[in-house]
Amino acid sequence: MRYLALIPLLCAGAVTFCVTTSLVDAKSTQDITPSAQANTADSDTIATAERAARATHRAFYTAPPIVPHDLYPASASNCLVCHSKKGTYFGKISPRTPHPQLTNCTQCHLPSKPAFVYVEADLVETSWKGLETPTAAPRANRVIPPTMPHRKFMREDCQSCHSYQSPYTSMRTPHPQRMNCAQCHVPAADTEFTIEKARKLPVR
């Protein structure tokens, strides 16, 4: 029986281990409210800073994010301890996965450093420059709702990233009470691809 008492302790330990290195600090972002966003100059600065922060764990816009914390041992059940629901663990915000049906997490999400600490990564010299995050979603005019700048595939759950608890304030929806996102926000024309578009490209 006395081992049972250890279980909550072990769980808490595992969670702390996962989140201690998270890049996003809940405190710093939770202060920002819609009234703060009213000042456009401020919100532009914040948005730029947040885009830059997000870009550090994506090789290009739309790439699956790199895991910003330690990832060992990697298994779906470990990842889902924090990422099955959105929440704040020990002061860090953990986003909820928008595709909980996919359970082979490390198939797409790489760790940012080797799991095996005894080998070191070299500097990789590359001229790769990935697609940049758009500064605003395209819209036909100023007064209609913006379109989605990325495709919906695997991101059907808008709340995962755009909820009012999103770690990135510039990505939070200003109207969290509205739940039917696709009613007003349609995908931008260029984000979905079709074979018709692909085949009309010239032959050489």
Partner: protein, 786 residues
């Protein structure tokens, strides 16, 4: 900025496409700075494994900037793995080869294409019989085809082999011996229909992750009570990420997979649970030497493989062996067997392939939805190029072989080549080719799209003297092989050229060039054309056709020859289309009909045989040998193995016994060594190690131990370990609870790291039928260094 003709066409076509679709004007006409302008998406198959995922390549300003999964491609339905997402970054490593180089006084010196082509042409002409081409399952279909035509018809020399010999050869010979014709009946839809998956020594969670997820996600999406009806059994010698997801992980002693398969067959007959009707209609039995057997005689052969005896040999319990027997014996179960390198890289790889077919044929679990044996391929076009085009020492396109006079004549006639120009004697297979190069039986070799100085087994022996031969290497980055080369040619990579790949499930996928290659890098296809044409101009007789014209001439739609050997002409003309249409004519004989090029352009890949129906629609074949799916199955037959050599439409069950491996651990070398891959890296890492994110996640090789072995030897994480075999040694850091968990008495080392060549240590014993080496088992000893 000057707009080239191609850019102009591209831009106008893109605008036309957008207008036609009624798309909004480029976003940003009002409000904000929106989506980057000029971004467009092009379809392509992924550059890496044999799964053949469809990707959409985002191109902006003449550079690849993003890669996403193609949601309309039936292979992956929008999902990719890490290698796929970062495939765009492989084009942009800082050390891309951008100009030809020739080695002078031990140093590689920048050269012009003119000098390089001249030098290669002279050297090949000087000794064309002792020239060889070593290629790859990563050749596009037209690249493989032009190489085959060049060497087999042009030089009357059959020394052409791909690295697929190290990868798929056992699968090919397995198919040919059992069914008479290469490539599987099944398709990826079987993953959506099966209720039991058995992997035979295959870590598909890391090597074919998209297929693994296709199965696992389907399972997890079901209600809980239905999930339990879907079983995944992993049989292997090392516990992997796949094993962690399995219901049962059955660990066996290396090489005893032969006995396990026979044990399942024994139980099916002994318990009388085999599919009698299927066996009577569609199969026959043969002894190992080819003599016909009755089912009673076959049963007699199996008597050595009772569960009790096999349990003792393999280490799998009698209960688990009986469970396997029951699963295959249950007529309601839909069982899908998957395997890849664990079975193929095996000194009895061909037998092992035959044995898996035996199990499925006896159980009648083949060519049925969700119930079939399915051989996975390692490389993106191992099927499309190496196997279908036939870039092997004995083969010709479309399932033909050089030994067969009729087959040779088919090719010579189509190519208008001089009758008799194709040599009936097969050339050197891969290991023999390198032995020949080392011994001087071959004086020159052209290596394309592969890195043998890293990937060949027993490197010390097989790559000896390579530096002294006339070695030409076409590649995109400096590799272990380019270091040995006399001439290094910079190549175009993936979407820097047009291409066609063929994946594991017979799917042929086409793509268009999306960006220009860097510097002076040029297509491998052009390189071959240029060298061949130079030899023709210099009067090499073999490269003249029956009318004295250039044998490899590329003709436009009006039949007019174009000067494709000139880069300026080549780069603005779709040579792929011409060559593919020519090759297509050779695919009908063995019913491997590929779709016309223009049809492939409009699809996300089509699975052959692709045949036009009465309405003029091109129909792909999901399951081969099955009536109403495969157009070549006769009416009323149900299932017809029409490839059978005897013409009786029967598949053959071979009595293949267990055979001990050539090298087993002993007193001096007490451990098994197994080698393999990791999720993040592709083969020898030349491309994926240039991607920052992939390199950071898995920078260097390591050696995995079983924790109990490690404790007994006093080894801890990070200790420097010397691995020594009878052939060579390397030093690696130990990782005790690593990516995988090898069985007791075994260590595992991934082979991607060019600074730690594990192939200095591996054994080059190979399957005598397929000539495929066994990278999965040899004996080593380890020593902890201070």
């Amino acid at each position: 900025m000057k707009t080239s003709r191609r850019d102009f066409i591209r831009q106008s076509a893109h605008l036309a496409a957008m207008a036609a679709l009624g798309a909004a004007l480029p976003a940003g006409a009002a409000g904000g700075v929106p989506l980057p302008d000029g971004l467009h998406w092009q379809k392509a198959p992924c550059r890496f494994c044999g799964t053949g995922c469809g990707v959409m390549v985002g191109v902006k300003g003449g550079r690849v900037v993003a890669v996403q999964g193609d949601p309309d491609c039936g292979v992956n339905k929008g999902l990719l793995c890490v290698k796929g997402y970062y495939a765009g970054a492989i084009l942009y490593g800082k050390d891309r080869l951008t100009h030809p180089m020739i080695r002078k006084d031990g140093k590689h010196v920048k050269a012009t294409w003119e000098e390089a082509i001249e030098l290669i042409a002279d050297n090949v002409m000087k000794d064309s019989d002792r020239f060889s081409i070593y290629g790859s399952g990563q050749w596009t279909v037209p690249e493989g085809y032009i190489n085959l035509k060049f060497i087999k018809a042009g030089l009357s020399n059959n020394h052409l082999d791909p690295n697929a010999r190290l990868c798929m050869a056992s699968a090919v010979v397995g198919f040919i011996t059992t069914f008479g014709v290469d490539e599987p009946s099944g398709c990826y839809e079987d993953l959506d229909e099966c209720d039991t998956v058995i992997t035979w020594g295959n870590n598909w969670a890391e090597m074919h992750p998209v297929l693994f997820s296709r199965f696992m996600d389907r399972k997890r999406s079901l209600p809980k009570y239905q999930q339990s009806e879907i079983t995944y059994i992993d049989m292997g010698t090392r516990k992997t990420r796949s094993s962690s997801a399995a219901n049962y992980y059955l660990e066996f002693v290396p090489q005893t997979d032969l006995a396990i398969a026979n044990c399942i067959c024994y139980q099916l007959i002994e318990n009388d649970t085999y599919d009698k009707e299927f066996v009577a209609q569609h199969t026959r039995f043969k002894a190992n030497d080819g003599a016909d057997l009755t089912i009673e005689e076959f049963k007699g052969f199996l008597d050595d493989y009772t569960p009790e005896k096999v349990a003792e040999l393999s280490g799998i319990s009698v209960g688990h062996l009986k469970m396997l027997g029951e699963i295959f014996g249950d007529p309601k179960r839909k069982v899908l067997s998957l395997w890849c390198m664990g079975v193929n890289q095996h000194t009895r790889g061909t037998w092992m392939n035959n044995l898996i077919y035996n199990v499925h044929l006896l159980a009648g679990k083949i060519a049925k939805p969700g119930s079939t044996p399915f051989s996975l391929t390692g490389q993106p076009s191992a099927c499309g190029t190496a196997r279908e085009v036939g870039t092997l020492a004995h083969a010709l396109p479309g399932g033909r072989v050089v030994k067969n006079e009729e087959h040779r004549k088919d090719c010579e006639d189509l190519w208008n080549a001089v009758p008799g120009c194709i040599n009936p004697k097969p050339g050197f297979h891969t290991v023999r080719m390198f032995e020949g190069l080392a011994a001087g039986e071959l004086t020159s070799m052209w290596v394309q799209v592969t890195n043998p100085a890293h990937s060949m087994p027993h490197l010390h022996k097989n790559l000896a003297n390579a530096e002294d031969r006339f070695l030409v290497v076409s590649d995109v980055y400096p590799t272990a092989t380019t270091r040995l080369a006399k001439v290094v040619l910079p190549s175009a990579l993936w979407v820097e050229k047009n291409g066609i790949f063929g994946n594991s499930e017979r799917r042929t996928q086409q793509w268009f060039k999306a960006v220009d290659p860097p510097g002076e890098a040029r297509d491998d296809l052009w390189q071959v054309l240029a060298v061949a044409h130079r030899m023709y101009k210099k009067g090499f007789k073999g490269l003249r056709d029956r009318d004295g014209n250039f044998l490899l001439a590329i003709r436009d739609e009006n039949g007019k020859e174009i000067e494709a050997w000139k880069w300026e002409v080549f780069k603005d003309f779709n040579v792929d289309r011409v060559l593919f249409e020519e090759y297509r004519k050779l695919t009908f004989k063995k019913h491997k009909d590929v779709a016309p090029y223009d049809v492939l352009v409009e699809h996300h890949g089509l699975r052959w045989p692709v045949v036009q129906d009465d309405q003029g629609v091109w129909r792909e074949t999901t399951r081969r040998f099955v009536e109403h799916e495969d157009p070549y199955v006769e009416e009323g037959k149900g299932i017809q193995f029409y490839g059978a050599k005897a013409g009786d439409d029967r598949a053959i069950l071979w009595a293949r016994p267990y055979e001990a491996p050539p090298e087993v651990p002993d007193k001096d070398y007490p451990l098994w060594l197994c080698t393999g891959r990791v999720l993040e890296h592709w083969h020898t890492g030349t491309m994926t190690q240039r991607v920052k994110e992939l390199h950071n996640a898995m920078p260097r090789a390591y050696v995995e131990f079983h924790p109990i072995d490690a404790r007994e030897m006093g080894i801890q994480d990070g200790d420097k370990i010397r691995i020594q075999s009878r052939r060579g040694s390397i030093v690696l850091p130990a990782w005790v609870r690593g990516r995988g968990l090898p069985q007791r008495g075994m260590i595992f080392v991934p082979f991607f790291d060019e600074t730690k060549l594990i192939n200095e240590v591996t054994l080059d014993a190979y399957c005598p039928m397929s000539k495929e080496p066994d990278y999965k088992k040899c004996a080593v000893r380890v020593e902890k260094l201070a």
